[in-house]
Symmetry: C2
Subunit: 369 residues, 2 copies
Amino acid sequence: MNVNGRRYRTIWARPGHDKVIQVIDQRQLPHKFVVEDLKSLDDVARAIKEMHVRGAGLIGAAAGFGMYLAALEAPKHRFDDFMLMAAEKLKGTRPTAVNLAVSVERQLKAMAAVSSTGGKISAALETAKEIADEDSDYCMRIGEHGLKMIRDISKKKKGKVVNILTHCNAGWLAFVDYGSATAPIYLAFGKGIKVHVWVDETRPWNQGSRLTAWELGQQGIPHTVIADNTGGHLMQSGLVDLVIVGSDRTTRTGDVANKIGTYLKALAAKDNNVPFYVALPSSSIDWNTRSGSDIPIEQRGEEEVKFAQGLSDGKIRKILLTPSSSRAANYGFDVTPARLVTGLITERGICQASEKGILKLFPERGGNG
Amino acid sequence: MNVNGRRYRTIWARPGHDKVIQVIDQRQLPHKFVVEDLKSLDDVARAIKEMHVRGAGLIGAAAGFGMYLAALEAPKHRFDDFMLMAAEKLKGTRPTAVNLAVSVERQLKAMAAVSSTGGKISAALETAKEIADEDSDYCMRIGEHGLKMIRDISKKKKGKVVNILTHCNAGWLAFVDYGSATAPIYLAFGKGIKVHVWVDETRPWNQGSRLTAWELGQQGIPHTVIADNTGGHLMQSGLVDLVIVGSDRTTRTGDVANKIGTYLKALAAKDNNVPFYVALPSSSIDWNTRSGSDIPIEQRGEEEVKFAQGLSDGKIRKILLTPSSSRAANYGFDVTPARLVTGLITERGICQASEKGILKLFPERGGNG
């Protein structure tokens, strides 16, 4: 998508020097736009863990490139062992998203199919690029399926503004391009449909006020930042036509792990008959898990809750919000049960959040259950 | 309650010089404890509007003292007109809480019963003190009724820690003393019952992380600050035994206007069978309103959402959280429908959140419906 009018993805191999992977350091947004070089497995693992890059699709793509950088570093005489270690290291960076494991396994498989070390390295680069391209392609298709829905609401409202609420950032910054929850919005806006986005700020890390607001602003899309507490009141007041969120991991039965607080918005949507959709590429479906309660929920450091980061006097600063002696807890995700989800928007179409619904779109997964 | 081991109320006439009213400037908490002098009607109106003081009970008490300071300023030849103007000014400072209007009307009535200007001024001071004492007394009684409930849960859990979630600050800082939601907790803790409080930070103004965490810490009560997004997940995980919140205005039918986000926690409590109680002195019941949708919801400036305030390098600073060009919306309250409320804890006991339940405790209000 566009940054200051120029086209970017969120991750790419440096043109003419593909031993360096480049990403946007999302910790600095919205105040500074910084492109960062990643040159090693350790660089990638740190970038994921410390959230220079985040979001289901993007950390999947980053793990793909991380495996490629690991292949460049791997000692020839114990290449396979090193790559298995790299795979574990990358999978361990964030516990909730399933894309990490999916990308890493795909890389191991691609490399196993080639015998020479040089061939393995080439296969890893090619596969990393494939993962990124596929992520971008899936998001675009999610956009097309979601677009129809927005267009229908717009027609029903006789062209009046369609108000969409989103939580966290399931935008292009969370993927390689377009985003999952935002892709339908970008396409609708491009077609001249009037849209306005309520952006949950998404404490504690503020993915909404930092990232979603910024990327919507860069594309010129009308939006309003709100405290996470606000969505229920907006829905009670008829000010939300549609909720679209992303997902870090969806079970084969349609339970959705997403950024903490998603469940509260799903409850409010249900209580007010507001359609609640989850947009996700199938790479974030965990085919081996049946119940949301089996998804591991990441707990992060308490400093993300006790402090907030932002701009003051031209400098990015952290401020202490609480008494210094108070403790804080920081759960990264919650699980929205399938019964609260109106539908899943995938790259193959929209389906019910149920095993039956999902398998209709992905019949090849029918055997795993 | 205690501040650094010394006993305070939140508002009082300066000892030996009762033409000055003193309050704790809550904008500076938890980082600085500042006692502020209020010397005029304008001082009080500004202190309420700009949230030096906030919370249903405390702004009711402040309005009482504000009417007294107005009486001191009122020109003798148009005393009554001036007092009517003062009444309107104070009622206009915050639209949602009903305590403002209740205190102001009570002052007008008290002054009308006396003929001399001097007598009116004395009546106003006396009434202001009465309002404050009554608020404190009601909160203590709310505490006693709520204590039984916490004791029951503690017994059921065989003495294990009782986990209580609260939203915003309905603590002593929101009243004159003890608080409404916190009073049962303070009493239970005093009786040696093991309690732990989940403190919603309560964006955008952070009443939870600033005020509730601070006042609980000052009394030595174990507590953990969480992002507002977190409560649903905690309830799903069995980590919340009880929710107690306050109320800025409760209709005679039991709909509860309280700090924005309360409704979302009530939905989660219902979905997880967690008891959801609202603690309120009857001064915050609006006997003339039947439906929560008739309660005016205050909208405040967008800067409270776009910025956060806290401590950095020993200074209280404001930081910008969003892109500077993004807009924000700031709704102060939402309405939790009575169907989601397990019970109301009032100074006369606990009742169902329904007209029938409320009138059982307040039969003298039966005629107004």
